[in-house]
Subunit: 121 residues, 2 copies
DNA sequence: AACGGGAATGAAAATCATTTTCATTTGTGA
DNA sequence: TCACAAATGAAAATGATTTTCATTCCCGTT
């Protein structure tokens, strides 16, 4: 397995902690860094595995990566401008737990995301 | 502009109101219907414009279409054997609504999925 | 210093969903 | 029948992502 190239993470930070692999690539090129797209994809993949970054999807299906500082949270994403709000998911945790128990599942995790149009759009 | 081919909508219904363009295509082929992928994409696009179907994204980025107004459900997936259970998500609907209002979002939708180990695994 | 093996790298090719192009077919009204 | 707009679909184009594979880099060992 390959580990993440540190310049990728630092670029993602500089990008405002929110960019697609292609954007990270273009950014690094513009800054004169010499790196291949493949390495960027691998690095981002590895950062996702290590839960250092989160991955979401744009409306067009392109994957976007963002730094994921805190513990466990969910996202409220504007499908027009991509603006994202981190929200509490206490209700979800409970729901997931109840549903899992009800069907004999254990060792559970979950994903939940809300999308819509933000006030500005 | 092209209008939707009615067989596409009827197939989407038969698919349980939830499928990707590629899946609709395969389904129609299996049923002996003669239709091109292009027409399916165009029909689904048009159905989305007319707000007759909704479009979401799978984790892998593939677009999935579902009938609007269809009572949607969530999934409880075993990460070992892949077994899937459809579950109710009343709590989620409420949570999504509250969170959206709280942040001024409208026209919202959501995704939620629970994964873990099923009783057999 | 030379050697060896595993990890990292990236160019190029392969994949795959989706879109575009464009020539053909179909339907409809004059 | 004629003409023209809409519908259709095969094939090519696009664009993100993944895979392949040969090369380079790193590091500890002789």
């Amino acid at each position: 397995m390959s580990r993440s190239n540190p310049r990728v993470l630092s670029t993602l930070e500089r990008a405002g902690g929110f960019a697609s692999a292609q954007e990270v690539y273009r950014l690094m090129q513009r800054e004169g860094e010499s790196i291949g797209l493949t390495t960027i994809y691998r690095s981002l993949q590895s950062l996702v595995n290590d839960k250092i970054v989160d991955v979401l999807r744009r409306d067009d299906g392109e994957a976007i990566y963002r730094l994921c500082g805190e513990a466990h949270h969910h996202h409220l994403v504007c499908k027009s401008c991509g603006d994202t709000v981190e929200i509490e998911g206490g209700a979800i945790e409970k729901w997931a737990k109840v549903m899992a128990e009800e069907h004999g599942f254990r060792d559970i995790g979950h994903t939940a995301e809300i999308f819509g149009l933000c006030a500005k759009c």
